[in-house]
Symmetry: C2
């Protein structure tokens, strides 16, 4: 009967007494309205989908935690979908989420403007995280990779390290590209006479190790090394230690992300902190804001700032 529905959904249009009786009966019978039927009629699932490239590693773990906390606070369920090897797999995931979610949070290198156009119904609100997509149709939330990287280079230079080498991330990765730009720009600005010195990497610890060995094999060794993420810095550190170098006395080292492990290596790693939990929270709140208003969301681009965390690995050790 209709009154049951009214009572269960806040009770406007029902006597307080009726509402009470209904709630009493409901809890006695452990009655819970059938979610699917409600979704069908209201066209709302109260569920947010999160599309991630992988769940592996501390970055994603923290991100999803931030999303989850914010979703719970706002009464939304969280449907996760990760581990997409390729674009078709991501497309299938997006398709299969249709009708199950009210909006989508997407963090994926596979997802570009064309992907969105052909796989997303115009009506589904989306927030892209760390995306190069510059569409006017979608909200984008980025990390200030450029600013964080240049600030770190500047810090290293001002700490007295006259030359700074950079271990780059994957060429196709948007974050990696921006960090690379930050390095180049800051070098040009603050150490115009020092060489741009870049070795390749792919964000894995293993590639950081190889990069470290490569740096040591070259004729001129830099005074400081800035890895485009912490995992590569950790790998590089291993290479330096194996070679008998002391960090930071012989060579300084810095990373990017401030994942938990950065604090545990010896020496603890100077790095650029991303407030990952907050990144997730803000992304979710942007998305929820879109759901509440009917008009098509004004495509906004927000950038979350980073901060430098100074630890022992760069020789200016405070923390």
């Amino acid at each position: 009967m209709a009154s049951v529905s009214r009572a269960m959904n806040g009770g406007s249009g029902v006597t307080a007494e009726t509402s009470e009786r209904i709630h009493a009966a409901a809890s006695r019978l452990q009655y819970v309205p059938h979610a699917a039927a409600r979704m069908l009629i209201t066209r709302r699932s109260n569920t947010i989908g999160a599309l991630l490239p992988d769940l592996y590693g501390e970055f994603f773990s923290e991100l999803i935690r931030g999303i989850d906390l914010a979703a719970r606070a706002r009464g939304f369920h969280l449907l996760v979908s990760s581990s997409h090897d390729g674009a078709e797999e991501a497309a299938a995931a997006v398709r299969s989420m249709q009708g199950r979610v009210d909006g989508l949070l997407i963090l994926s290198a596979r997802v570009d403007a064309a992907f969105l156009r052909s796989n997303l119904p115009k009506s589904l609100p989306v927030v892209l995280i760390n995306s190069a997509v510059n569409s006017t149709a979608h909200a984008v939330l980025n990390v200030d990779n450029f600013g964080g990287a240049s600030a770190m280079v500047r810090h290293l230079l001002q700490a007295g390290h006259s030359s700074v080498a950079f271990i780059a991330g994957p060429k196709s990765n948007f974050d990696a590209q921006q960090r690379d730009q930050g390095y180049r720009t800051a070098m040009a600005k603050y150490a115009p006479n020092a060489p741009i010195h870049i070795v390749a990497g792919d964000f894995t610890e293993e590639s950081g190790y190889r990069a470290g060995r490569e740096l040591l094999a070259q004729r001129t060794r830099p005074r400081a090394v800035f890895a485009a993420n912490d995992m590569m810095a950790v790998g590089c550190l291993t290479a330096f230690k194996e070679a008998g170098l002391r960090v930071p006395q012989d060579i300084a080292l810095a990373g990017f992300d401030d994942i938990p492990v950065a604090r545990y290596v010896t020496p603890p790693l100077t790095t650029v902190r991303i407030r990952i939990v907050e990144l997730g929270r803000i992304a979710l709140e942007h998305l929820v804001a879109q759901l509440d208003k009917a008009d098509p969301a004004p495509a906004s681009v927000q950038t979350l700032g980073c901060e430098i965390v100074v630890r022992d690995s760069c020789g200016a050790g405070t923390a």
Copy 2:
């Protein structure tokens, strides 16, 4: 029309040609069957719910990754719900998942037999992970905490460390209790004359640090320390280093879990490895197996084995 439904769902009872036409039209129109309507009529959501205490830390991150990979492989969506401060919050989460999921994976200290009885409809398949619940009504998947802990104690003793102290986990935690039992039992068996030496901890790094300091302040210092998880071992290691002790020369140290950070500390940590991804995968597959058969699942208890990983921190360094 009915043929559309038949074609979209595998095509039995439709001409190949009809089916083809329908699929062509569907993909041209980007048609996707409405999930809610299908859920309503089929009583299947093809979604698994995962109830976790938190998403924080490497253990949960790996666990959820294992669940996700297995769910994807079997065509299930994954709805996560975590960060429950108390039993009521967990109860609300379970209730709100009703009708949205076909089954539930639960890892939570708050969830005991009474909780399950009053919050779960008998018809909802459940697999409990690392749970003390010994109900005959639910499948349980545990880690061999007892076996892993006793094996580690035995290893330390046989490596020549005549006395082994234990840093315990939270008293109310099931895993912690079993690891404690493993320590006591192995000590009684392999070193009947050595004292049982236990200091309190709560699985946090901070508590491990405090436990380390406490151990050093006592009159007799053990030859080896076994922490009930890796994070406490990491904290304890910090305390030892601060006190100028060399690990493993002055004192050996071991942990439990083999979270990634265990490899990154100096010296790398000897520990008991749980294959966390596999734990998640197996749990999901148990659950899916229950969904497929109509009869109420035979309550099974499966235990996943652990293995010892020897690294430098215990002085028998191989890896």
